[in-house]
Symmetry: D2
Subunit: 353 residues, 4 copies
């Protein structure tokens, strides 16, 4: 018993991917399990996702559900980037650092051009300066831009920042991708509509993350730009998914998760809660004068600089905080859809005494 | 209501992947959802799979769970086959025909050498004759052999057949892979142990299928040959999974399925039922003198030649039988863990009248 | 001295790639070496190839010179075939058997679908039957057809045969490639124009071989179909060459070879001689009643079945004849632009006595 | 006449790859063309390269001749770097900037990690700091280091610099590659032995460049580290070459170039002359107080900052100097084995008046 409790505490705040699924998503799985259905995403639930997402995004979009965020990112980028292409991204970006080269694998060897940016975010001017070599046979060719929202420092791109980056991308005739692993948290943070944060700000393709915010394993690649699908036949995108082993036979159980997640504002409700807990945690930590915020807490990720002795104090209570992993020796703490206010309080109490 | 009923009947017997998960697997998902856990397969459930499978196979094996059978096959083959390698397989094999080139994608362009075999099964002599070119720089290099158990005609390889094929493979220093998408059904059909059907018969790597037989999306790559893992560092196999987007963050929900599936003989119980239903269906169909078996019914797949007018009769009741898809204009009908005897009876009744 | 002579005889008739360059090509190299020039094919000689080939083919063509026939084939196919594509070819074809998987490497894992054909040539009916799966997500997608002229049995496709195969390819919306490693020998054999044997018969892309027929290392990829270049930007083809290491810095020395080869009918003169020597050799061998032609001698390749004791007789004179390599235990003997009639006589004299 | 002169002057100093072959290499080609020979590098000349290079490097080395420097680099790196590997290199390095992603293509998608270094050279400390992530499944894996000698600013690594970088690489169990496109010029600059600049300083694999310094198209991949060849079977390296289209059938003409190049110190003689001309050009330019060296002139590449009006003056005489291409708006001028002292004088005279 005690052992289990220790274990639970250990992973709390480690990431939002330590959570399970929220009740609504679990119910949807149970319901989808009632009888036999056509496989490979040809069931009614899966087909209906097209409408569901189109409604949410106020635009007819094209949707491919997947069970993996890495797959969503890499497949999305592979439709926008030839093997001899450049993908411009922040040097800290998940696609560059944490996917073991998935974009390179799926594109057949594209180059991820690293940008320094500020606070984890790409800066339009640096992007503009970096795009070069077009039409010169010796150089890999500028092809796409990718930004992460929330970005890797937990900070959210503001709408005008996204717009300016998109403008640079489009000026150079590149497509722009958003890695929305924490899409819902960003939406809540900006208090804007999904449309505003994506195609209305110039985004062409989105990796819509749902796993971290209340699903088991459910993501979606969303195309806003019809021409992208026009250039590369629609079917071929599914072929790529099949070829990579990401077209699950019982795809309906991924679709069921997404369906429930998008219904009745479950996704927003979960994110609102996670962000509120993030704020509570961030404010609580800042009460300690030895702890400093490394980046603003825009949503559910709190980056703080904590002295070694305080880290040791936390870890002696079963947490596993690692100060080696992030830039500037910052520590990352993440709240989630299921973080209980008392979880935050217990954590903060450790350093109160 | 009526609409739903029609839909259900439509997919019955179309494949065993139209089913959902069995109660035990569903329970395991619910249970695994109780609290937070370490991600990426570092949770207790996932780690314990190693022991669970080692017990089942009477040997210390190395296990990588995945959510996709195509991924399991392609990843397994990519550990045994360089980009310039030959994979010897039956021309009808799933890896050759139905995975949109996944083995080619994961290996970086290996060649699938097609064998004609007999009744869907590879013949040792033909395999032996086909393996050539070793050490000649102009030729792709013999690297691995893959057989499917049950094979694509629903027939099971007998133990001595597997042994003879393995001997040929090993004589040429090739590794041998078994695509066990319907592994449980084959085990029940042969009435042998998992060890006997695999490493005791020379198999080096297995794609262990569980999705079709009662899971949502759960497969496992199982290495019996320590040297295979020795040559290529252990970590690197996980790297391949991560890189391909198949290392799910909430991997514990895949592991939970496998854990429940392997516990209390659930997997064998499910397969026994499916095979029994296959036998019932096969025997029932053969009572009609216009219907002929195309291949023996060894397990849960029934391949029959049915005259066009009888097919039309079935389809007028909502089934979707397609006589174009398979060799020899045979029709494939598949029973599953959840096939009700009355489902078979209803189907057979159509042609009784 | 004697040692060198033995060596020469040993390789005579082994292949036409044992030869060096003809005097005209050698002169061109010397001439191109007179002063400095712009690198990477931007010199006058290289640019002029476009016109030179367009004249020869009576059509404005697009030309990419390379130093390697394997590269020419693989690069050509990679512009017509996505990674998830099928390339339909004869099972004996060079691209399938003798290039160590280069088409798979350059396409990123396309599938070479093997056809049996007759006498080494693809049969339109078999091709038509084999093309399937279009639009079905589980199957690799029909993309291109490749024929070899002369084919691998030394036989030449007749114009109407090429036309029929092209019609099948185009009916299915596939592009068709000709591997013209022995293009000149085939032209002389058919006594037709280069235009007639290619685009007038439906060919979309040609690998124009020159190395075997009098150059050091010079081939060219020739696009007849403007749309192929239209779909994939022109530059990108050069990018592929650069990326693969086939855009030589001193490309002018490849261009110089092709320029001289195409001038003053050098290429046809060389091929006429090689074919005449092939005929002489073929007829001489057939005088021996123990030797049988395996395939008709259409040009400069002679395929014969020779009893073991006669092979031993040849080899005791320093030749290295191998009866294991080809189908039907046939032996391949190849004449070239530099085969002396006395070479043929010396060879035939061995079995006269 | 005048037209040709203008053309010649235009490319003079643009690069050392605008030159042709030196007389000794040309003679070797003529000589190798005397009679028929075994193809694919199985001729005596090619086989003898192994000894020739082993002698030059005072060690038994393993040699693969190629016709392309990009291919040499990419093939070399692909033997040291898995698809999920990191190659650490300078951000200005040719493999990173000027090969259109060839290393990514040949490795199947490795990541080139860019280092800033100083003056175009990698700094051991920065390298050491950058190598991380080993054994962590989310990160691409440290695999190899590549340095260019001469580096991209024309500067030569000193022996102790190479040693320190090798030590860092080997400390992390990475292999180290040297891109020796201007290997001879560096040897002359350091006045050391080939052994000292390579394996005695820790280099594992070398791309030995010969094209720029007096050949038509001849490079060689040289393995110093037997274990590298031991791990990956020897044959497989040739398979990779064949598969990529770089195993030329008439390989003997590449070997002949290398053979002549290495004989009688031709390579050193050529490089000595080129470097002397580089020095003469560098010193002459520095006499003009408006022209500043951007990097030291260690060998045959002169990087200078030249005011726009002086550049215009040069270009009005037919030169094509581009100040956009290099860092810091420096201009690169390159001398070669065939640069005449009067070429340098004519160039300098333009700004004297």
């Amino acid at each position: 018993m005690a052992k289990i409790k220790t274990k639970r505490e250990r992973v709390k705040f480690a990431s939002d991917n330590v959570t399970g699924a929220c009740p609504e998503v679990l119910d949807a799985i149970l319901k989808a399990n009632d009888e036999d259905r056509t496989p490979y995403g040809n069931d009614e639930l899966s087909k209906n996702l097209q409408n569901k997402f189109s409604e949410i995004f106020e635009k007819e979009v094209i949707v491919f559900p997947t069970a993996s965020g890495t797959a969503a990112n890499a497949l999305a980028l592979s439709t926008m980037t030839p093997s001899f292409g450049n993908i411009y991204c922040h040097r800290l970006s998940h696609i560059n650092v944490d996917e073991c080269g998935a974009p390179e694998f799926y594109t057949g060897g594209a180059k991820l051009v690293n940008l320094d940016g500020i606070n984890g975010k790409i800066i339009p001017e640096e992007l503009d300066d970096s795009i070069s070599g077009k039409g010169i046979v010796h150089h890999t060719q500028p092809s796409s831009v990718s930004i992460t929202q929330l970005c890797e420092t937990g900070v959210a791109y503001q709408l005008d920042e996204i717009k300016k980056i998109s403008e640079v991308a489009h000026k150079h005739k590149l497509n722009i991708h958003m890695d929305g692993a924490r899409f819902a948290n960003a939406i809540v943070s900006l208090n804007c509509s999904p449309a505003e944060m994506t195609w209305k700000s110039g985004i062409d393709v989105l990796s819509f993350g749902a796993t971290k915010n209340g699903c088991f394993a459910a993501e979606a690649i969303i195309f806003f730009n019809k021409d992208l699908v026009g250039n590369l036949p629609f079917l071929m995108k599914r072929v790529l998914m099949k070829r990579a082993g990401h077209l699950l036979s019982k795809m309906r159980f991924v679709s069921a998760q997404l369906d429930a997640y998008l219904s009745n504002e479950v996704w927003l409700k979960n994110a609102r809660h996670a962000n509120a807990m993030g704020k509570k945690l961030s404010q609580g930590l800042q009460l300690n004068k030895n702890i400093k915020l490394a980046y603003p807490t825009d949503a559910n990720e709190v980056f703080v600089k904590i002295p070694k002795n305080i880290i040791d104090q936390f870890n002696s209570h079963g947490y596993k905080i690692n100060d080696e992993e992030w830039e500037n020796k910052a520590v990352r703490l993440v709240t989630a859809w299921n973080t209980d206010p008392s979880d935050v309080d217990s954590f903060l109490n450790i350093i109160k005494s």
